[in-house]
């Protein structure tokens, strides 16, 4: 029906799909003879939100709240509602999302389908842990009300199920109370990877939210240096103000040419960013928006990586040998000179992920962007894959456009149990790729 196939956030791979939006949750989704896949805001980086040769079903029209209980913070809404919209609604009323990722421009359906995590994983676990129930539309025409106690197998398959178990029509989420829209924030510089681990263990006890930015071009004794960011929701700080966020003013207007992001420009950026923080430690209070979603302030920032698009690589390795594995990965990355300025390091905690296919598991997670440089990038990823494999880790499908099928099946041995819960009417580019 439309000539334009929506893209994923990394803008690769390029695909061609028919587009049939699902406008009303009271109607059945547009099932057809071709496999379909729900498409929210396309913030998955690779091909897990794409369906080459099939049908993509935008769900953004399903943007209605269904019910809100101001006493318990239980919010029921349709799957196309965005986290942005929920925060606009909830914050002035003294509530906050239980888990937020690095951008607020994702839909509730997408947050569930990828069982997303945030800076508070060590406390709150994944998004799916806060979903009380969800309504699933299956291709056999059934509407199922899935929860921990009803159709639980489908419930656990749908959390992190990459949209492959049917269409999520609506869901009920437990929000968490706040008394201020501000965050109490501490940021601390660390000189190397050992410095990170020193800070991280302690910070996770004192702070609800923790994350670190790492300079992936630093080598030798400086390997793994960065800035550790920790925060808590402010507790009635004088005014106890509850203020929603503003819409972004800036938009990145064009595709940056490929040469613009190179070893030197990124090195300069990283150098400046690292030393922006003069003192070893800074305290302050900032609004939740720049704390959680710094990149949301520039729309279309993915165009910084130029027309060829970019990859994100997010891995998790178990704590046990994780320090060595993380060091090895950083070593390999810094020598490649390909890394960009967005590298994030965090410890996943013990809360158990509720989805069969959920990515988060206890360990060290590293996420970073790589501009698409063809062969050189592919070779680098092969080496990183080997380290992750060796350490008994895993990669995150929502960020992936290239992991090997055998690796996927090794990282997610439960895939067979999962595939029995899949809806035969659904498929995705990602799924076909890793099953091939």
């Amino acid at each position: 029906m439309s000539g334009v196939t929506p893209a994923s956030w990394g803008r690769l791979p390029r695909t061609l799909a028919q587009v049939h939006p699902w406008h009303w949750s009271s109607n059945p989704p547009p099932w057809g003879t071709e496999p379909v896949l729900a498409y929210g805001l396309g913030r998955s980086y690779g091909d897990s939100c794409l369906n080459d040769g099939g049908v993509l079903v935008p769900t953004r029209s399903l943007d209605h709240l269904v019910a809100f209980d101001a006493a318990t913070g239980e919010l029921t809404c349709e799957a196309g509602v965005t986290l942005d919209e929920i925060l606009q609604f909830a914050v002035p009323r003294g509530w906050f999302l239980p888990v937020v990722p690095g951008t607020k421009y994702v839909t509730v359906g997408g947050a569930i389908a990828n069982d997303i995590h945030g800076k508070n994983h060590h406390r709150a676990g994944t998004f799916g842990r806060h979903v009380q129930w969800l309504e699933l539309a299956r291709s056999d025409g059934r509407r199922l009300h899935c929860s921990e106690t009803k159709d639980e197998a489908l419930f656990h398959a749908t959390l992190g199920g990459m949209g492959l178990t049917g269409f999520i029509a609506q869901a009920s989420i437990r929000l968490r109370p706040i008394t201020s829209s501000a965050m109490e924030v501490v940021s601390r510089r660390f000189e190397n990877l050992a410095g990170f681990f020193e800070i991280a263990g302690e910070a996770d006890r004192d702070f609800e939210y923790t994350v670190a930015w790492v300079d992936c071009l630093a080598r030798g004794k400086k390997l793994g240096r960065g800035i550790f960011l920790a925060g808590n929701h402010a507790t009635t700080s004088g005014t106890g103000e509850l203020r929603g966020h503003r819409l972004p003013r800036a938009r990145w207007p064009f595709d940056l040419p490929e040469f613009a992001l190179n070893r030197w420009s990124v090195k300069i950026f990283n150098e400046l960013y690292y030393h922006k923080q003069w003192s070893a430690e800074k305290h302050g209070q900032i609004h939740y928006d720049p704390f959680f979603f710094p990149l949301d302030s520039i729309r279309d920032w993915n165009r910084l990586y130029g027309k060829r698009g970019f990859f994100q690589y997010q891995s998790v390795v178990p704590i046990r040998d994780g320090q060595a594995a993380t060091a090895a990965m950083l070593e390999r990355i810094s020598h490649s000179g390909q890394a960009s300025f967005l590298a994030v390091l965090k410890l996943f905690g013990d809360p158990v992920s509720p989805g069969i296919m959920s990515f988060p598991r206890p360990g060290i997670t590293l996420a970073l962007d790589f501009p698409n440089r063809g062969e050189a990038t592919a070779r680098l990823f092969e080496d990183l894959d080997a380290i992750v494999r060796e350490a008994g880790g895993a990669l995150y499908p929502a960020k992936d456009a290239r992991m090997r099928g055998e690796d996927f099946r090794r990282f997610y041995p439960q895939w067979e149990a999962f595939s029995r819960q899949m809806d035969p009417g659904c498929s995705s580019s990602f799924w076909r790729r890793v099953m091939a």
Binding site: S26, S61, A67, F68, E78, Q88, G244, P248, P253
Partner: protein, 261 residues
């Protein structure tokens, strides 16, 4: 570079809660207007064809505002049905301050030659039905000595174009009607506002490639809400369309009829 810089919360300040009756309550623009109105405390009554969809919209507004929203389905082409709705809405709202006529439909432009039935439906939905509703609303407003009748027209009504022939003709006719009605109601304190949105990112335009000129329903809704109480009675939204259509209107017919826009 187009960016929407308004905050999405804190709707504009206004005088007191209004009673708002919306025909075509499930349209994307109507929903956006209703959300803003509900957020600032207005009472809302929605009319549409599909009760299930109306219930979805109403529940959303109720969750956001904590106030009950009135809902009914009606035959938009029956004067009796429209009159009955106004009576029902009047009871629910106490007083109808604003009637917003927001329904509309486009003939699928990928169909090479529309059928008689499609053409007739297009004219009925986009012209005949709004006129019937406006007549009924005008009577209510005249009786109560005031009110705002807001009709969603279109920039497509500014000049006849082959690509949206019947839709444009209906919307153009609607503008002539609104002008005449303003004259008839000039001493009654009734505002007759014609809103002419440009291209808006809604299900009605789902088939079109979204260029820079496409506005979000929220942007248009904000402007519509303002027009209920003040400003000119003919409103282009976003404002850039006032300039665009100003140019399009002065192109000589001999040239214009050759254009495939």
């Amino acid at each position: 570079m187009i960016s929407h810089t308004h905050a999405t919360f804190n709707p504009m300040p206004y005088l007191e809660p209004q009673g708002l009756l919306i025909f075509g309550g499930t349209s994307a623009i109507a929903q956006a207007v209703a959300r803003l109105a509900a957020a600032r405390g207005d009472k809302i009554f929605l009319v549409g064809r599909d009760l299930e969809k109306l219930a979805i919209v109403a529940r959303d507004l109720e969750a956001r505002s904590g106030r009950t929203v009135g809902v009914t389905s009606a035959d938009f082409l029956s004067a009796d049905s429209v009159e009955a709705v106004l009576g029902q809405a009047g009871k629910f709202l106490g007083r109808i301050d604003v009637v917003l006529i927001a329904h509309g439909m486009m003939i699928d432009p990928t169909v090479p030659a529309p059928s008689w039935a499609q053409i007739e439906e297009c004219l009925r939905v986009n012209f005949l039905s709004p006129v019937l509703i406006a007549e009924a609303a005008a009577r209510v407003f005249s009786r109560q000595g005031g009110g705002t009748l807001a009709i969603i027209g279109s920039v497509a009504g500014d000049r006849g174009r082959r690509t949206i022939l019947h839709y444009g003709a209906a919307k153009g006719g609607l503008e002539r009607y609104a002008q005449g009605l303003r004259g008839r109601l000039r001493d009654t304190g009734v505002r007759v506002v014609l809103i002419k949105p440009g291209m808006v990112d809604t299900p009605m335009t789902a088939h079109l490639r979204k260029g820079l000129l496409f506005a979000q329903p929220e942007t248009v809704a904000r402007r519509i809400l303002k027009s209920f109480t003040s400003g000119p009675e003919t409103v282009y939204t976003p404002w850039i369309w006032c300039i665009i259509m100003g140019i399009i209107k002065v192109i000589p017919e001999s040239i214009f009829k050759k254009l495939t826009i």
